[in-house]
């Protein structure tokens, strides 16, 4: 009988702690490999491409006025005097054990994980990034909670009231949200709330630990602006997914059991709807922590996006490398967490 067959097949049930642990370990190894590849590519782009086009990469980082001594000094500092593989090896070694840099009067130790010294201010890139992280994380966390609530809520309502006026209004608003750039909605909201209505202070970051109310007050506009952009996407995604899910047989079954609509929608339909949204959410959140460049620029937040921007403006290679790796790390980690959550939400998914 079929039943017996499948009973035997169940011996290796998914979700056993050891299996999950093994899976996480294997994925973490993948994360490391992924970051290695990303770092190699980034390294390649910034060091090899200038060579291929016949320019000395060091000239990208010194100004036009560079004296030969300045050029050589920077060459040594960036390790450009060594072969590429050796430079890369030193970079990796720095991440693991740290690195020492001469300052002229002595040696500056860049503790592990050392992503090099910023060309701009001679500070370890790691320190700059970790001090910028809370700002970006605050921005991303607040905005993502808002857009999840807003986006999923309106999307679900829209799906339930398909073709109603409310649905149409919501979807047009969502389209506007997707289409309007941050520097439009952002500046408009600053103008409205900070200057015209005087409801909020001019945006600038206040640490959460220092002044929670100020923190929220200063971030509320960037949150809303960013959430508006993403909520729009999520509303559309939720609506489409929810409509699909509502057509599923198991929703009809739930109704056939006599469950009230709030349970049919709120529990049965919502849980299935959330699965694809979770996937997108993980990617978005990971990407956002890598830097919301426009939002940070418009709202004067000195987060990772801003660090990336400054790095590019000032040809600060170690900073650019650092932000890239940092962003890559968060995206891969977000991916891993999403996959774990996915397995938790959908029992059919096996962590293998």
């Amino acid at each position: 009988m079929g039943g017996r067959r499948s009973l035997q097949g169940e011996a290796a049930a998914p979700g056993q702690p050891s299996a999950v642990l093994l899976y996480i370990v294997r994925r973490l190894v993948n994360v490391v490999v992924m970051l290695l590849v990303v770092s190699m590519i980034t390294f390649g782009i910034f060091f090899m491409v200038p060579k291929l086009t016949g320019t000395d990469p060091v000239y990208l980082y010194v100004g036009k006025n560079a004296t030969p001594a300045a050029v050589e000094g920077l060459r040594v500092k960036l390790g450009l005097d060594k072969p590429l593989y050796e430079q890369y090896g030193l970079y990796l070694k720095g991440i693991v054990v740290g690195r020492d840099y001469p300052t002229g009067t002595g040696v500056e130790h860049c503790p592990a994980p050392c992503l090099g010294l910023s060309v701009q201010n001679e500070d370890p890139v790691w320190g700059d990034l970790t001090s910028d992280l809370p700002i970006t994380a605050s921005l991303a966390a607040g905005a993502s909670i808002l857009w999840l609530i807003l986006g999923v809520g309106t999307g679900a309502l829209s799906a339930l009231r398909k073709r109603s006026i409310g649905d149409r209004v919501t979807m047009v608003t969502a389209l506007a949200g997707v289409s309007l750039p941050i520097y439009f909605t952002g500046l408009l909201s600053i103008y409205l709330f900070c200057y015209t209505l005087n409801w909020l202070p001019d945006p600038s970051y206040v640490p959460l630990t220092q002044d929670p109310v100020g923190w929220a007050q200063n971030l509320i506009l960037p949150w809303i602006t960013l959430a508006f952009l993403y909520a729009a996407t999520y509303a559309r995604l939720t609506r489409a997914t929810m409509l699909d899910v509502l057509g599923e047989d198991y929703i009809r079954t739930a109704r056939a059991k006599g469950l009230p609509e709030r349970i049919v929608i709120g529990k049965h339909a919502m849980r299935s709807t959330m699965t694809p949204i979770l996937t997108v959410f993980g990617m978005d959140l990971g990407g956002l922590i890598g830097g919301a460049v426009l939002t940070e620029t418009v709202f004067n937040l000195h987060g990772l996006g801003n660090a990336a921007l400054q790095g590019i403006q000032k040809n600060d290679l170690p900073m650019i490398m650092g932000v890239t790796l940092f962003a890559a790390f968060f995206i891969v980690m977000a991916n891993l967490i999403v996959d774990l959550l996915y397995a938790a939400v959908d029992p059919r998914v096996r962590l293998a």
């Binding site: 320019t55 010194v62 100004g63 036009k64 006025n65 560079a66 004296t67 030969p68 001594a69 300045a70 050029v71 050589e72 000094g73 920077l74 040594v76 840099y101 001469p102 300052t103 002229g104 009067t105 002595g106 500056e108 910023s118 701009q120 201010n121 001679e122 500070d123 700059d128 750039p181 520097y183 439009f184 500046l187 408009l188 600053i190 103008y191 900070c194 200057y195 015209t196 005087n198 001019d202 600038s204 460049v293 426009l294 940070e296 620029t297 418009v298 709202f299 004067n300 937040l301 000195h302 801003n306 660090a307 921007l309 400054q310 590019i312 403006q313 000032k314």
Partner: protein
């Protein structure tokens, strides 16, 4: 090399912001005190001191949309970073806080008087004032001045700043800087002597009329050897001026407070009115403008001009306009004609271009009158030696087709000719300039092909004569700014025939005229800056007579100042408001 690394306006992102910005703010108006309104007017700070006052106290709210390149005076090159140095880093000589050309005349700062010049203009002897101290309380001696200058030599550790002193003081010694100095006291630079703690003597290899100007740069500020942390010094440099750095968060904020070890009796130049100065670095240039107009920010210390949205607002509002200055900042935009590329080897063909060009159209391409006045010759108004010489009547702002055709006939090209004009592809205004010239020259039969090349590579494209000849660039659009306000610093690189380099060349016309060359040498040997300026007036006239460059505009930037600011002076030497002179009228 002399191009000053001007703090450039923010990146493309911010540029995009500017386009869509509905002028934020302006309705708060808390800062627009009316008591100063009578004294303030458009461009008032250029010719006079606006709101003169001795009222002390308050905190200046400085804003910028870009961080300084370095707080270590040895390493900074941004113009506004140099202006900020006036708050905390004193030099032997400096520019007085005076409007107009008075502000171009150096005066003693750490030095008690102007130097004694002897040995045929080759030896400069300075005496220091008494009672000078660093912000840590240590006495400031001539050895510290020498050490500070020695640091300029350590380019491997401290790159980024100007290297004029290194070039002129090394004299074949190959001095590696104090960090690799074998002298136990790190006093190994031979051309500079410190016979006693109050005296410092510079021995030059040949006379140089610009030498004093080199000493007025922050890169010659004294540094206490025991407190030098090399590459890390920029995080917390010691102060010699009235203010010291309390805290510095890169890309975010700099806070200046009073330096308790600064003695006003040793400093005749700085009034040190405010109690503190806060520099806030924002990422949003339009927001910065909104704060300025709303009165919550005092000054955009980038001084490169307000964004488009705020500019429109200011120019249509007389009250706002009264608090702005729009003065030449020392940059000139021009189109070079290469005398080695036919038919520009013939002076008449070059003159034909001067006449056929429409100066008004070229000015429009740069952004109109607000962005710069029509240039009639190659020396901007804030350079000593400037005059209004205008052999091609460019000031009239019109193309002169008849004269251009006469010159074409004399050149043997009565029906015109074809050539290529090069423009940097990352400088939209330069591309527009090329397009404007293309349109004007068509009227006399000169057909231009515009070649947009990789702007980041300009030193190896238009800076390499062999490339220029190969590509047939008869015309090249470019710009130039001076590090210090002398004509030699400005013009010699553009016209000295002995400075034609294979790579990184700036003499784009490739002119090698013995008469010009000898005048350049004569000017360099002058010990009196005024005499040198007169020589350059002559050089400038020759350059124009030979039609080597089509001057386009002298750059200007429309900058807004908070009406509460006192002692506002536009310092011609830096092309911007003097930060060190400012105070607040409300004491806040």
């Amino acid at each position: 090399m002399i191009i000053r690394n001007r703090a450039l306006a923010a990146v493309a992102v911010v540029g995009a912001v500017a386009l869509t910005a509905s002028a934020c703010g302006g309705s708060k108006g808390t800062g627009s005190s009316s008591d100063a309104a009578g004294k303030s007017s458009f461009n008032a700070a250029v010719t006079s001191i606006v709101n003169p006052s001795a009222k002390k106290g308050g905190t200046l709210q400085f804003w910028a949309n870009q961080d300084v390149d370095s707080l270590d005076p040895t390493r900074a090159y941004y113009a506004f970073a140099w202006d900020l140095q006036r708050l905390y880093a004193r030099t032997l000589l400096t520019y007085p806080s005076q409007p107009g050309t008075a502000g171009l005349q150096l005066s003693p700062d750490l030095a008690s008087a102007m130097p004694t010049i002897s040995n045929g203009g080759k030896t400069y002897t300075f005496k220091l004032r008494t009672g000078l101290k660093f912000s840590d309380g240590a006495p400031l001696t001539s050895k510290d001045v020498k050490y500070g200058i020695e640091r300029d030599f350590a380019q491997d550790v401290l790159p980024g700043g100007p290297v004029y002193l290194q070039q002129i003081l090394d004299q074949g010694q190959k001095y590696p800087g104090p960090y690799k100095d074998t002298d136990p006291n790190k006093m190994g630079l031979k051309s500079v002597q410190t016979p006693d703690p109050q005296t410092i003597v510079f021995n030059l290899a040949s006379p140089n009329s610009d030498f004093e100007y080199y000493l007025a740069m922050g890169a010659s500020t004294p540094v206490e050897a025991a407190k030098d942390t090399g590459a890390n010094y920029q995080k917390a440099p010691l102060a010699t001026g009235p203010y010291m750095i309390q805290s510095y968060t890169p890309n975010q904020a700099i806070k200046f407070v009073r330096n308790p070890n600064w003695d006003p009796s040793t400093d005749p130049i700085r009034k040190a009115l405010p109690d503190a100065i806060d520099v806030t670095i924002t990422t949003n240039a339009d927001d910065l403008d909104s704060r300025l107009l709303a009165g919550t920010a005092d000054l955009d210390i980038g001084q490169v001009g307000v964004q488009t949205a705020a500019q429109a607002k200011i120019l249509t509002n007389p009250q706002l306009k009264a608090n702005t200055d729009d003065a030449p900042n020392g940059f000139i935009r021009y189109i070079a004609m290469d005398t080695k590329v036919a038919p520009f080897n013939n002076v008449h063909c070059r003159k034909a271009v001067e006449y056929a060009a429409n100066p008004t159209d070229l000015q429009t391409a740069r952004g109109g009158p607000t962005a710069g006045a029509i240039a009639t010759n190659m020396l901007p108004p804030n350079i000593l030696g400037h005059d209004s010489y205008d052999p091609y009547n460019l000031a009239a702002g019109k193309a002169q087709v008849d004269k251009a055709k006469q010159e074409l006939a004399l050149c043997g090209q009565p029906n015109g000719f074809s050539t290529t004009i090069a423009a940097r592809n990352n400088k939209p205004k330069e591309v527009k300039t090329a397009e404007a010239l293309q349109a004007s020259l068509k009227a006399v039969g000169i057909n231009l092909t515009i070649d947009q090349y990789d702007g980041a590579q300009s030193s190896s494209v238009i800076g390499a004569p062999s490339v220029v000849h190969k590509k047939g660039y008869g015309l090249m659009v470019f710009g130039w700014g001076a590090d210090y306000p002398t004509a030699s610093g400005f013009l010699s690189m553009l016209v000295d025939g002995r400075q034609i380099l294979a790579d990184g060349n700036n003499n784009l016309s490739e002119i090698n005229d013995p008469q010009i060359n000898s005048l350049i040498d004569k000017a360099a040997a002058e010990t009196d800056p005024k005499a040198a300026a007169a020589d350059y007036t002559q050089i400038n006239h020759m350059v124009m007579d030979q039609a080597l460059y089509v001057p386009v505009v002298y750059d200007q930037a429309l900058n807004y100042r908070n009406p509460r600011l006192t002692n506002v002076v536009f310092l011609q030497a830096l092309g911007m408001i003097d930060f060190a002179a400012l105070g607040t009228s409300d004491g806040k």
